[in-house]
Amino acid sequence: MSTASARTPKLGVQAATKVYQTASGDLLALDRCSLDVQANEIVSIVGPSGCGKTTLLWSMSGLHRLTGGSIVLDGKEITGPRPEIGIVFQEANLLPWRNLDANINFPFEIKGEKPDRAWIAHLLNRVGLEGFGDKFPRELSGGMQQRAAIVRALALKPSVLLMDEPFGALDSFTREEMNRLVEEIWLDTKTTIVFITHSIEEAIFLSDRVVVLTTRPGRVAKVYDVPFPRPRSLEIMATKEVFDLTNRIKMDIVGERRPKGSEQQGQKTAEIVRIRP
């Protein structure tokens, strides 16, 4: 698969296979997926919807058990939820009956630990949510809810942050703002991040590497290095290199989806275009 690394990976996925048993028979969601995530790296996983991105992430988090293969964190196989892993879910996933403070305290309550007030205050300040502690999720905008979810995930100081299409439901401006926030947080903490998204721009902006998955069953189709320096300014993101990389990844995903024989069709339309006066 990807280039063999001399270092032991922070998170190693080896031939991960996942079969769901559904009413209409077995569903192969992941088929021998392998990838390594190094410490302090941001790796994005992109792919068409329904390609098993979320399944892969949930397996990394220990929420799902693999049918075959293994996922290893710091040299230890993942068999269940681990405290070193923080998750940011789709659509924030805050508990609506708790205010923001209580939502952020939730992990500590479950673990029976005292919340690290200073760290939480620092995080809240970092994401611009100080003073909102007594607000309920319904009183916060989508972006603010997702900021709170990030604070909740980071509150336990995880060494790996798994983010499952966290900004998919946000408008594009808020989304860019959130991407910058993730970059800032990463520059601060250097937390290893696995980021699932269907936005190629988002993946390139955030990642050291972009992993493209195939449609169901999910396999690793390609891995791209994203060598651009950080912080990635608007100027960097507007360069031809970024544009080319975006297109290459897009071609991978679209090509993956295109049914056989459609290439000839594509040529025909091209011809028609040429013939027209």
Partner: protein, 282 residues
């Protein structure tokens, strides 16, 4: 074990289990008589004065006899005059209602919490619960009186039987609302089954539990009064039959007034609890 996982599902439409089409959702709390401004209160009072005054006037003008419909003024007078005599009966009814409701609500809540953990068992039990919900438990009162006599016992049993299934069926709807993402969140921090129940399932079910408790309490009041009318020499229901048999209509309506006040108090109580603890729903 790996096959036991469900495909991660975030779509809101699927996260609930028919919660949106339930007969009694929280709209009872959301769009209840939330009186906001003083002007609204004045308007409501003004309407009351007009209606009561109108009835009073009409009854006096047309010389409607007291045994058909007593005027509001004599009902009010009877309420004050007879209250010392009615009060102990109010106490008896409250004892029946509170103890029967407490038993029914606790049993109903525990059963709902347990049964929803076992979907198969729930499917088997569901039709029987439906029978319990739809059968008017008043029908059993004569039988209960035969078995337990004219004391508190048959009435408390009847109230518990009326309230319990109402609480259970609504609470079960609440407990069935599993949100896999929220449970996954708790599990990702290593939450135990018990923690998931108390910190995710119970709060998610609370709005429906409150609806169940409110309906259960009102059905309990209904059943308590009905049971008192069937037999036994005490309770507000007994006062109703006794006053009507003696054609003491002002006193009769005074008791009716007390009963409707009780019903409204039950509603307002749960409305306030819902507003405080379950308003996140809306």
């Amino acid at each position: 074990m790996s096959g036991g996982d469900a495909i991660p599902e975030f779509s809101k439409a699927k996260s609930g289990d028919g919660q949106d089409v339930s007969l009694t959702n929280l709209s009872a709390f959301a769009s209840g008589p939330g009186i906001k401004s003083g002007a609204e209160v004045v308007a409501i009072l003004a309407v009351a004065v007009v209606i009561i005054g109108g009835i009073e006037l009409a009854l006096r003008i047309f010389h409607v006899p007291q045994y058909i419909m007593p005027p509001p003024s004599s009902i009010a007078y009877a309420l004050f005059d007879e209250f010392p005599l009615i009060a102990p009966h109010l106490g008896y009814t409250l004892v029946e209602l509170l103890s029967g409701f407490a038993i029914g609500a606790i049993v109903g809540l525990v059963m709902a919490a347990v049964i929803t953990q076992f979907p198969f068992a729930e499917k088997i039990v569901a039709p029987y619960i439906l029978i319990l919900v739809t059968t008017p438990m008043l029908a059993l009162v004569p039988l209960l009186i035969l078995r337990f006599g004219f004391g508190y016992t048959p009435r408390i049993i009847a109230v518990a039987l009326a309230a319990g299934p109402m609480v259970m069926i609504n609470a079960a709807t609440g407990f069935r609302r599993v949100d896999s993402a929220k449970i996954a969140l708790a599990r990702s921090y290593g939450a135990s089954t018990l923690q998931i129940f108390w910190k995710i399932r119970a709060p998610m079910a609370l709005p429906m539990i409150l609806v169940g408790l409110m309906i259960g309490a009102i059905f309990g009041l209904l059943t308590a009064v009905g049971a008192e009318m069937v037999g036994g020499g005490f309770g507000l229901g007994n006062r109703l039959t006794s006053y009507s048999s003696m054609i003491q209509m002002p006193q009769f309506f005074a008791v009716v007034l007390i009963l409707s006040t009780l019903g409204i108090l039950i509603y307002v109580l749960f409305f306030l609890i819902g507003k405080k603890w379950a308003s996140w729903e809306t």
